[in-house]
């Protein structure tokens, strides 16, 4: 997979600027500093982190590996947005397990992450598609944004299909409308947009547009699998962004191995995007449960610590 066919939208900095970036002592002191935060619900929150070099290098589809503190674990998070002017990258996080819940408490504006490495993985292949459906379910809404924007900048007609449980959990609607030609909002309870899952949205889009070149779907594995099945009868190329458990994120442990067709690939260096019609989702979902016991125990311990701290506070 060659990276050289990416549209070069970012103006080239001069050597002096970038050397200055590398050498600037102030930059080093504010390393991985969180400069903005927004909470979209009580489980989903957005962090904007200062990293000028990464803001320049990031491309849609890439991810970072984060450690929130020295005793933490390495957590892969897709880059939801990047801004070269501000020198920041944006991560949208859902507080599910111990680490993300802890981050929800500790990652405030002005604090810093302990480790942030990236942008990892191959940039999403934007290619020559003329009409694209970008599908984001739940947390997948954030990482699909840079892809939708890139397709649009490349001249494609972009239809976004976004799924949320209910209206109060919707975020980035305006952001998407600014880069898409059409937006199909889906809610489980019908409180806004159409009532249904993103697959219903995909079906609507396919009915209306018989000339869709490509579908890109990001979200929980169950949703990506369903999206791929929705497009399979129509033979539409469908790319998915896989999210296996990762440790190093740089291609040396094989923990993120996925089965694509008859091959074994590492999501961190061979992906994270793969052909959704070839991915073995059953294998991915089984492997995502590798540490379910430890994860449950860690959340319980964390909740217990919070309860104890709560009791101690006046």
């Amino acid at each position: 997979m060659s990276d050289s066919d990416q549209p070069n939208q970012i103006p080239k900095r001069t050597g002096a600027d970038t050397i200055a970036l590398l050498r600037n002592e102030t930059e080093r002191e504010s390393r991985f500093e969180i400069v903005a935060r927004e909470d979209y619900s009580d489980v989903t929150f957005m962090l904007e982190v200062r990293h000028p070099l990464m803001a320049r290098a990031a491309r849609p589809g890439q991810f970072v590996v984060v450690m929130s503190h020295e005793h933490g674990e390495r957590v892969p998070l897709t880059i939801a947005d990047f801004d070269q002017e501000k020198g920041t990258v944006t991560l949208v996080i859902q507080a599910v397990g111990k680490t993300t819940r802890e981050m929800r408490e500790t990652c405030r504006v002005g604090t810093a992450l302990y480790a942030l490495a990236g942008p990892a993985g191959h940039p999403s292949p934007i290619g020559q598609a003329k009409k694209v459906v970008c599908v984001g379910g739940g947390l997948g809404v954030a990482p699909i944004f840079p892809q939708a924007r890139a397709f649009k900048q490349n001249g494609a007609y972009v239809i976004a299909v976004l799924g949320f449980r209910t209206e109060t959990l919707v975020f980035w609607e305006k952001k998407f409308r600014s880069v898409c030609d059409e937006l199909i909002l889906c809610t489980d309870d019908g409180s806004t947009g159409i009532k249904g899952l993103v697959t219903d949205g995909i079906k609507l889009a396919i009915e209306k547009h018989p000339d869709i070149d490509e579908v890109v779907a990001i979200g929980p594995p169950v949703m990506m699998r369903a999206s791929a099945e929705a497009t399979r009868p129509h033979g539409i190329k469908t790319m998915v962004s896989l999210n296996p458990i990762m440790v190093d994120g740089t291609g040396m442990c094989g923990g993120c191995r996925v089965k694509v067709g008859d091959q074994v690939k590492f999501a961190c260096v061979d992906g994270p995007d793969f052909d959704g019609h070839k991915v073995d989702f059953a294998d991915l979902m089984t492997r995502l449960r590798r540490f379910s016991e430890e994860e449950k125990a860690a959340v319980e311990r964390w909740s217990e610590t919070c309860r104890m701290k709560g009791l101690g506070q006046s």
């Binding site: 590398l22 890439q62 933490g72 040396m252």
Partner: protein, 497 residues
Amino acid sequence: MSKKKTIRTIPQQRTPAHEQAPAERVRNFSEVSHAYTDAEAQLESQRCLQCADPVCIAGCPVAIDIPRFIEKISDKDYRGAYDVITRTNLLPAVCGRVCPQENQCEGVCTVADTLEPVAIGRLERFVGDRAIAEGWKNLPYIEPNGFRVGIVGSGPAGVACAADMAKAGCDVTVFEAFHQPGGVLRYGIPDFRLPNEVVDAEIENLKRLGVKFECNTIVGRLFTIEQMIDELGFHAVFIGTGAGYPTMLGIPGDSLNNVLSANELLTRCNLMRAKEFPNFDTPVPLGERVAVVGAGNTAMDAMRVCLRLGAAKVHCIYRRSRAEAPARAEEIQHAEEEGIEFHWLTNPIEILDDGKGNVRGMRCIRMELGAPDESGRRRPVPVPGSEFEFETDQVVFAIGTNANPIIGQTSKLKLNKKGYIETDENLATSMAGVFAGGDIVTGAATVIEAMGAGRTAARHMRTYLGIRDPSLSYDGDKDIQFGINPRERNFVRLRVK
């Protein structure tokens, strides 16, 4: 005038190093081998014959002046011994512990003709540890020459190259993808063989030399090799990114939940400190009956880590025999002492599912040795009809690795068929000013070979940059490098695009 030493007058027995007893050490991550005491080091140093023609030096991949440093130990001049070693080897506390001395210096020691070889490795470690304890640093004043050198990867190759370039006066930055430097020294080799404190101390020495470490930097992704030369102002680059991409088993059931590569196990345990879970957040799978496939150093490390994590029983499955096992002799011996059961001439053919996606066993087949393959070792062939089932709840595989793909994916460097970076005899790559060494060039090898490669590349990088070592005399055509005779009056360093 002291009496000349002969094979009969030196202490006849190789001085043993105290080791933790197997039963005790399988439950902790403290070092297995203790360092020599002063008295033990003294005694062992007497065994060196100070040969007029020391073959041990040629046996060392970085040509340490072994008889000289051993003589200093005899004279109780430990600082002097450290000075001798650090003229060529910058990490004696590391190499003394992890070099396969039996294949290198000790393997050719003259004393070994009659008795057991001089314990050169243990003596080197003794000096290295004393240096750390005493805080000795060999830091001469170095005149900066204005050249910026970028090193990709903070493992043994990168760190050795960095030290040499720093000593030559360059402004050196080492980039590391992980959040802590050291590469395989930190994530791969467990604490009971090479404590992370030793790695920290040696890295600290390099920082004092002026070497800068930038962690959390994935070169190739954050910026490319080309950008390092074209935009970031580096005059020369060394790539030491290693070969960590594990080879998969490729048998049915190899993606079950409790099947993992030794690299994953070791990274979780050593780098992410999973052995201290839940104080550290990263977990590591803990089986009761673990099967490790492979018999190299990585496999040995994985087996012994599993024991210390609490496995009741650990098995080694290897398709060849003990004689062909590639691991360091001392590691196999320690592993056997620790109660690991070895199944030689056995190959796994299927990993069995318990119905819930976990491992319940492995089907294996017995092997026998046939004709030699390209490596010269006899090729194992399956014995028909010898399949059997083996109960296990966790499988760890250490059957080889491949080049880390990131640099190959993100730069126009020429790679060979297997994905390793192609270099000439000067370790120069297809891109001017970019050199490479260690596992990313040769495939998986040892720490000392990587360090040797880092130092060789540094020598050629200095030539490329036009940094002349005033102590070296140039003569004749054999000093023409890149078509330039250094004696020419207007000697200019050419950058070829």
